[in-house]
């Protein structure tokens, strides 16, 4: 196989570039690269969460969370994460923060609350972490 003209000597190939990007992103502790692999992991959870942008759906969810989740085909584990509002659990299981945050929003749970819980911190501790950047 002849090497393509685009691959100048010493330049990384496209495959190498992609792999390097992913390797770096996956090496970040406490980070869950939301790529195709992860996007397939818990599609039903993300779909259920997105549906909560409709008022009628929020009412149906509030009336019977288990039945509502079942309609979207959530696994038993995922349902429990939803009942527990276990934000870090949802992220680890394949939840995308933007969809998962719709679930937080329906109860006016702030991103700071979600962040604190993901860090296993109290809200005060997490706010201190955020404020620590101010002095830098």
């Amino acid at each position: 196989m002849s090497s393509s003209d685009e691959e100048a000597a010493g330049e990384p190939t496209i495959s190498e570039r992609i792999e390097e990007d992913k390797r770096l992103a996956r090496s970040l502790e406490g980070t869950y690269l939301f790529d195709g692999t992860r996007s397939q992991k818990n599609y039903p959870l993300n779909k259920m969460c997105m549906s909560l942008t409709k008022r009628d759906n929020r009412a149906a969810f509030a009336a019977d969370e288990a039945a509502y989740c079942a309609q979207f085909g959530l696994s038993e584990e995922s349902k429990q994460l939803v009942f527990d509002r276990d934000w870090i659990g949802m992220i680890r299981s394949g939840g995308n923060i933007y969809y998962v945050f719709k679930l937080a929003s329906i109860n006016h749970t702030s991103m700071q609350h979600v962040g604190a819980q993901q860090n296993s911190m109290t809200l005060e501790e997490f706010r201190a972490k955020l404020n620590a950047h101010t002095s830098k």
Binding site: E20, G30, K47, T53, K102, F126
Partner: protein, 283 residues
């Protein structure tokens, strides 16, 4: 003839919108941020743009994971503020400019940018918060928006994201398209998102002011250096969600190589986000 008269950039945090809508912008927590926005509002007021092109990402209001357009553009006559889970923001509807939208679509596709076209779309905080930051908030401050709008979306929610250089080139293509529009139209381009922040995972709360300051500097002095930063590095330095900064490069690409920074404001933090804002004019 149409022309791009300026570029402005800003972070787009939901809680900034909530602060405006609930009238707490003068609270001690928020006052430094909103005071910092005042000169930018003055700048935009004097510009009097006929149309504002807003570069933003949809955060799961219109776009689900079933189909994720890398680049999209609105061609609607009107755009409403959508319901992200806590009800729509109480702001006036946005008037579109379908004629310019379709001109952009034709000229972008002709320049090999294959845009996804939206004839119906609602807009989320990524769009509405920057509009309020520059044109007026809290809700009720303005009866109607003093500019027509065209939304342009960039995928920043599911990797792979478009490469930073591609974003810059999209900006260049937008510039060419606007320059070729025959109607006298003053166009403002607005880049949104960032700066450093991470919302997901145990790393949530991450911010990196040093990186943001470097980014703000290079926006003026060496934007091409920013286009060479791989998205993985953006994630490392600016956070998983901070990679949104690639959308600032679209706005930058629509400007001359030589630009002047008219105003800059940087505030750590607005909730989990290092909030940056800048106003640029061509030299």
């Amino acid at each position: 003839m149409a022309e791009i008269i300026a570029a402005v950039t800003t972070s787009h945090v939901p809680s900034i919108g909530i602060a405006m809508d609930s009238g707490i912008t003068q609270d001690p927590y928020w006052k430094p941020l909103f005071d910092g926005y005042l000169p930018a509002k003055e700048f935009v007021k004097e510009l009097k743009p006929d149309v504002t092109i807003v570069i933003y990402n949809d955060h799961g209001l219109e776009v689900f994971l079933d189909r994720v357009p890398t680049f999209g553009i609105g061609a609607a006559a009107q755009y409403l503020s959508g319901d992200e889970g806590w009800g729509p923001r109480p702001i006036p509807p946005f008037q579109g400019d379908p004629d310019l939208s379709w001109h952009l679509i034709e000229h972008l596709v002709a320049q090999e940018f294959d845009m996804t076209m939206f004839q119906e779309m609602e807009v989320d905080h990524g769009f509405t918060v920057p509009m309020s930051v520059f044109f007026g908030g809290p809700a009720g401050e303005i009866e109607e928006w003093p500019t027509r709008v065209i939304p342009i979306t960039v995928n920043t929610i599911q990797f792979p994201l478009p490469m930073p250089l591609r974003c810059f080139k999209l900006g260049q293509a937008i510039r060419k398209a606007v320059d070729a529009y025959p109607k006298d139209t003053r166009v403002l381009i607005m880049g949104t998102g960032g700066m450093s922040h991470q919302l997901q995972g145990e790393r949530s709360g991450f911010m990196k002011p040093d990186f943001d300051r470097m980014f703000l500097d290079k926006m003026v002095t060496d934007p091409m250096a920013l286009t060479k930063i791989p998205n993985g590095v953006f994630m490392k330095e600016a956070g998983h969600e901070g990679a949104e900064l690639i959308m600032w490069l679209v706005a930058r690409g629509a400007m001359n190589m030589d630009i002047e920074e008219v105003y800059q404001h940087y505030h750590v933090s607005a909730s989990l986000t290092a909030a940056g804002l800048a106003c640029y004019r061509n030299k």
